[in-house]
């Protein structure tokens, strides 16, 4: 178990180095000159660009620039400052990350609940009415784009029927003083309902399908027959023997999908105007603010590496065959 842990950690570090390097190359080799962006874009004065080039260290060789970039992230734990507004990137991300985290984790809980309940019941009664309805839902879920679903939801639930807010975010810990914005846990929940549903539909559909297939396959395993031959009641056959094994691949998928979901969050955040990481990145791209974009990418990478690590450890905990190798 200890060796497994060390090996996983080393992999995570390697992954971090590779991804930061790729990010660095992509952004700093990009055709748009960061120094120009720093000086205000199209109408930048040549003197300003020259100064900015020196200040940003753009005249130094690429490997040196990369090492400085790495040192800034690891040692100073700073993602830099925005070229455009001069805002600290760490601060911008600290504001946006909780919004995205609310969306992604709330969404993940929702899609896992739907996936488990619907997936298991359709597996137990294949070709039943529930199963067929679920499969139609799956087809819609995987085909419909989140932006479209978001607009439809927001129009009907928010605008036409007024059940939920149309858009916007409410801070869980209360809105800033004097901002006049809604805040507090209940408002947070109320504002997140539609984004969660929108966000979860695609994954819920995928997970219903996957859990259904896994459960059906596991039901045919020899050890499930053994459990029945022991005289175990159906409920304990399902929970102790089928689900535990059927969930193994689901846990792996979940780890990978959290990363994918961060990408998907961009759509949902845009539709509902949630000030999360995705929306922050899009706004920054529009004004060529590479520091922010890079900050978001590096931070998301770290988050994904972290969650994959957590999932790997979780996996080792639930599957003894991994634990001991």
């Amino acid at each position: 178990m200890f060796r497994y842990l060390i090996r996983r950690l080393l992999w995570a570090i390697l992954l971090f180095i590779v991804i930061t390097f790729v990010t660095f190359v992509v952004f700093f080799m990009a055709p748009s000159n960061p120094a120009r962006g720093y000086c205000g874009g199209e109408n930048a004065k040549p003197e300003c660009i020259k100064l900015a080039t020196e200040k940003l260290g753009l005249d130094q060789p690429l490997p040196i620039q990369y090492l400085k970039f790495l040192k800034r992230i690891v040692v100073d734990q700073s993602l830099g400052t925005s070229y455009f507004t001069g805002q600290d990137v760490n601060e911008a991300i600290a504001q946006a990350a909780p919004v995205t985290a609310s969306l992604v984790f709330g969404g993940a809980i929702l899609w896992m609940m739907i996936g488990l309940v619907v997936g298991v019941f359709s597996a137990l009664k294949p070709r039943s009415l529930l199963d067929r309805v679920a499969m139609v839902f799956v087809l819609i879920g995987v085909s419909a784009h989140p932006v479209w679903i978001g607009l439809i939801f927001s129009y009907f639930f928010g605008f036409r029927w007024g059940i939920t807010p149309i858009a916007n975010y409410a801070n869980f810990f209360g809105a800033p003083e004097g901002s006049g914005l809604p805040g507090g846990p209940w408002q947070w929940f109320y504002h997140m309902i539609l984004p969660w549903c929108t966000f979860a539909i695609l994954f819920a559909a995928l997970y219903v399908r996957m859990i259904r297939a896994n459960v059906m396959e596991t039901m045919n395993e020899d050890y499930v027959r053994t459990a029945r031959a022991k005289g175990a009641p159906e409920r304990s056959v399902l929970t102790k023997h089928v689900l535990r094994n059927a969930m193994l691949p689901v846990v792996t998928m979940l780890g990978m999908d959290i990363g994918l979901a961060l990408g998907g969050a961009i759509f949902t955040e845009t539709v509902y105007q949630l000030p999360g990481l995705g929306r922050t990145a899009i706004l920054a791209i529009n004004v060529n603010d590479l520091a922010i974009v890079q900050g978001v990418v590096v931070f998301s990478t770290l988050a994904i590496i972290f969650f994959n690590l957590v999932v790997d450890l979780l996996y080792a905990w639930i599957d003894p065959r991994i634990r001991l190798t």
Binding site: D222, A229, A232, L324
Partner: protein, 338 residues
């Protein structure tokens, strides 16, 4: 009263291609402490017969009829809860492949304790002590150290011992062993068979031993059923079966056993393939493969009836007694030479 009495048992699977008659009218009984061997090729219905008795066939598209009387009560019509009380408690089962028959995510100890606690209201500590006792009884070395291991840490033979321990843990009256040695290598097979014989003496359980291996039958069985294409073709005491086999299919099985004494280059084999149970052959189901086939075999199905000489020796064949005796004598003569 027999412990288990099976009467006209039929199990049909409804598939997209038609009805597969996997078991088609099977009668037999098992007495207390007796070992019944069921022998036949793959797909002859031996396993399905036992899964039907245990109620472990998939429910979808499966129709079973007839009776399986367990101490007088019909298992086929018993309530699921009643059946669960019997399974693993009064009747338990060992399966063919020990590599996949144990749950990979639970320890051996957890799985044994579960088997006890389903049927007995005992504490975990008591159940664990019993589990340990059984692991020792089936010959797991250093059982104390291994009870918390996972199945993948055991070899195939050791896993089958664990399966046997699990099957015997509640002192069942009947143990159904479905090809328990098929997936094991030869030396391990011999050990497992010896273990089962010894445990039968200790625990006094009756055994139904399903196998395609006549060697296993000779080793362990008291009575033998020979099954072919979902039906019983011969039913006799193990000595009678080996001394005077009465059915051409049984001769075929015996002839295909490798022998040290026979100076044959090749083993004799039964020509052809087992028939499809979707559309079984007319008349005697063995007739397309039978070297002794007569006209009557193609049209009329022989009934399973006592042979003229011995009313306890049942066989289903149209051949006359003389031919049967002559052919049986050839086979047994070869055996006697050794």
């Amino acid at each position: 009263m027999a412990l288990l009495e099976v009467k006209d048992l039929r199990t049909y699977f409804h598939t997209d291609d038609g009805v597969v008659k996997a078991v088609d009218g099977v009668d037999f009984s098992v007495e207390k402490g007796q070992t019944l061997g069921i022998v036949g090729e793959s797909g002859s219905g031996k396993s399905v017969t036992n899964l039907t008795i245990m109620g472990l066939n998939p429910k979808r598209n499966t129709v079973s009829s007839g009776e399986a009387l367990w101490k007088g009560e019909d298992l086929l019509t018993a309530k699921p809860s009643k059946l669960r009380d019997i399974r693993g408690n009064e009747i338990s089962m060992i399966f063919q492949d020990p590599m996949t028959s144990l749950n990979p995510v639970h320890t051996i100890g957890q799985q044994l304790v579960e088997a006890i606690q389903i049927h007995r209201d005992v504490s975990k500590r008591v159940a664990r002590a019993r589990a340990l006792e059984l692991l020792k009884a089936v010959g797991i070395p250093r059982a104390e150290g291994r009870i918390d291991d996972y199945p993948h840490q055991f070899s195939g033979g050791m896993r089958q011992r664990v399966m046997i321990a699990m099957a015997l843990i509640n002192d069942p009256d009947l143990l159904i062993a479905d090809e328990p040695t098929t997936a094991l290598d030869v030396t391990t097979q011999a050990q497992i068979l010896a273990l089962m014989k010894r445990l039968q003496e200790d625990f006094g359980s009756a055994i139904i031993m399903v196998t395609h291996d006549l060697g296993v039958i000779a080793e362990i069985a008291d009575d033998v059923l020979v099954m072919y294409a979902a039906k019983i073709v011969e039913h006799a005491n193990v000595y009678d079966l080996f001394n005077r086999p009465q059915h051409p299919y049984t001769w075929g099985l015996m002839g295909s056993l490798p022998r040290l004494d026979a100076d044959a280059e090749r083993l004799t084999q039964i020509p052809g393939q087992p028939p499809s149970l979707l559309r079984p052959p007319s008349g005697c189901r063995f007739h397309p493969r039978c070297p002794y086939v007569m006209e009557v075999c193609k049209t009329t199905e022989p009934r399973l009836e006592p042979s003229q000489r011995d009313s306890n020796h049942l066989q289903a064949c149209h051949l006359d007694e003389e031919t049967k005796d002559r052919e049986a004598a050839k086979l047994t003569h070869m055996a006697e030479v050794s």
